[in-house]
């Protein structure tokens, strides 16, 4: 998580394939993604820890129950006992769960504290949810104002396909063999690899929620309030997500795509987007246009 330096580009290119596999939901996928950030991996790990704790408790409890169901059948001549109390037993199954809970609460708390720590970020992105698209503003990149500001919405082929009675097959929409139906946008959010990015998230009209599973969290976008969250993506790649809070008619149709580039490529992209010199003095000329699109 503290790794700042971008690894050599060659290595990163080699990793692209695996990153792509992490970035898309897979058919028959059973489990949470391990994601593309340290945070996402830790979230995945704590999810697995709690899952296995639950499975273990389940095996014991249901096991005892099934033994009871087979051993103590009336049809097998079982005679009911009359006891109905045991302080010792009840104490045991009050105390053991408490210990298990403490054991799982501890790593959850430390992880939560790390996830809440947005300090030392090197880049700030403002995310604004609209019905039904996202606006991204590059507020700050290593102390400079890139002045990039655009709206990202569902790409047009999927948008036509998803209309009722379109007669188009959602299976036709693919990138690199992965279905990107409803998970692709016209203009993705572009981020550099290995940079701690802070997001300030808000909404214009109703509550939305910005969620890319590979980053390991979601953050509600609430009108009038800004919330912060952060990420540092380890591998270049394209990471897909969706709005996760019911926001009206086209809630299902406002995907999120984060394209993570090696730092040099990202800076090239950034220069191409905003040719104007980015300094504080000219910040006013670079500020957002506020009229919503569409």
């Amino acid at each position: 998580m503290r790794r700042v330096l971008a690894a050599p580009a060659v290595v990163l290119l080699g990793l692209l394939a695996s990153a792509a596999a992490n970035a898309n939901p897979q058919p028959w996928q059973l489990n949470m993604t391990r994601g593309a950030t340290q945070t996402a991996r830790e979230v995945h790990d704590i999810h697995m820890v709690v899952l296995w704790i639950c499975v273990a408790i389940g095996v014991v409890v249901f096991g005892v129950m099934f033994v009871a169901m087979f051993r103590f059948r009336k049809s097998k001549g079982a005679v009911p006992a009359t006891w109905s109390h045991s302080t010792k037993l009840e104490a045991i199954w009050t105390i053991i769960p408490i210990l298990i809970l403490i054991a799982s609460a501890w790593p959850a708390t430390t992880l939560l504290i790390r996830m809440a720590d947005t300090s030392e970020s090197e880049m700030t992105i403002k995310v604004t949810g609209y019905q039904w698209k996202w606006r991204y503003e590059y507020v700050d990149y290593f102390g400079k104002q890139p002045g990039i500001n655009f709206v990202s919405s569902l790409e047009s082929q999927a948008n036509r396909t998803r209309q009722l009675g379109s007669g188009m097959d959602p299976r036709d929409i693919k990138v690199d063999g992965h279905s990107t139906y409803l998970l692709d946008v016209d203009k993705p959010l572009v981020l550099p690899v290995g940079v701690k990015v802070r997001f300030v998230v808000t909404a214009d009209d109703v509550i939305h929620s910005w969620w890319v599973p590979a980053l390991g969290w979601k953050q509600d976008a609430i009108p009038g309030i800004i919330n912060s969250a952060w990420t540092r993506v380890d591998e270049p790649g394209i990471y897909r997500g969706q709005c996760a809070e019911l926001c009206g008619r086209d809630h299902a149709f406002m995907p999120i795509v984060v394209k993570v580039l090696p730092k040099a490529e990202f800076e090239q992209w950034m220069t191409a987007q905003a040719p104007a010199p980015a300094t504080a003095a000219t910040a006013t000329t670079l500020a957002p246009t506020t009229a919503p699109q569409g």
Binding site: S119, V139, T202, D205, S228, T290
Partner: protein, 192 residues
């Protein structure tokens, strides 16, 4: 027995009435809990001047304050910060400027809603002067330069190095309607 049941019903109805009122009481309780238990300042009101005057400048560290601006899509204004990012010493009074322009062909009243991230830092951000304290009326095509004067409390936890202050302008439809009814042109100074 019947009589007794009525008594219980009366007590229960009192509980019902109390919890209905409690639902509304949660509005102030929420504010109090946020401000005193969780340490989030919800109100955008001016800081207590006497408290600010007592703060001493902490030269030993600097805090980065970022300003992000937004305009609700129902309001045809432009609104931006002249300085997106300033570095300040906690305790030092700082002034920053914002520009708002009404792009429409009618006078409109707007209200700015402030929000601070991270939200735990909000009680340490003290504004002594802000356009968000009052309604702002902009005539058609009018631009206005508006200051915000603030002090970051030196008590701000050391772990917080960056504060983001967000202002979102919303149309104040009621006041705008009253304005158009008055039809007499206001002089562009904030009402109220």
């Amino acid at each position: 027995m019947k009589h007794d049941a009525r008594g219980i019903a009366k007590v229960a109805l009192t509980v019902v009435a109390a919890s209905f009122l409690f639902g509304f009481a949660m509005v102030p309780i929420y504010r109090i809990a946020c401000e005193h238990v969780l340490g989030i300042k919800l109100s955008g009101e001016a800081a207590d001047a006497s408290r600010v005057a007592l703060m001493t400048v902490d030269e030993s560290r600097t805090v980065t304050v970022e300003f992000v601006t937004g305009v609700n899509s129902k309001l045809p204004w432009d609104f931006k910060a002249e300085n997106v990012r300033v570095s300040v010493h906690p305790g030092a009074l700082t002034e920053v400027w914002f520009d708002a322009t009404n792009n429409s062909t009618a006078a409109i009243v707007g209200n700015a809603v402030p929000s601070v991230a991270p939200n735990e830092a909000s009680p340490y951000f003290n504004k002594t002067e802000c356009f968000c304290f009052t309604e702002q009326t902009l005539q058609a095509g009018e631009s206005r330069r508006m200051p915000v004067r603030f002090v970051v409390d030196p008590q701000l936890p050391k772990s917080t190095t960056t504060l983001t202050l967000s202002y979102t302008f919303y149309a104040n439809e009621l006041a705008t309607r009253q304005l158009s009814l008055l039809s007499a042109p206001l002089d562009g100074i904030a009402k109220n």
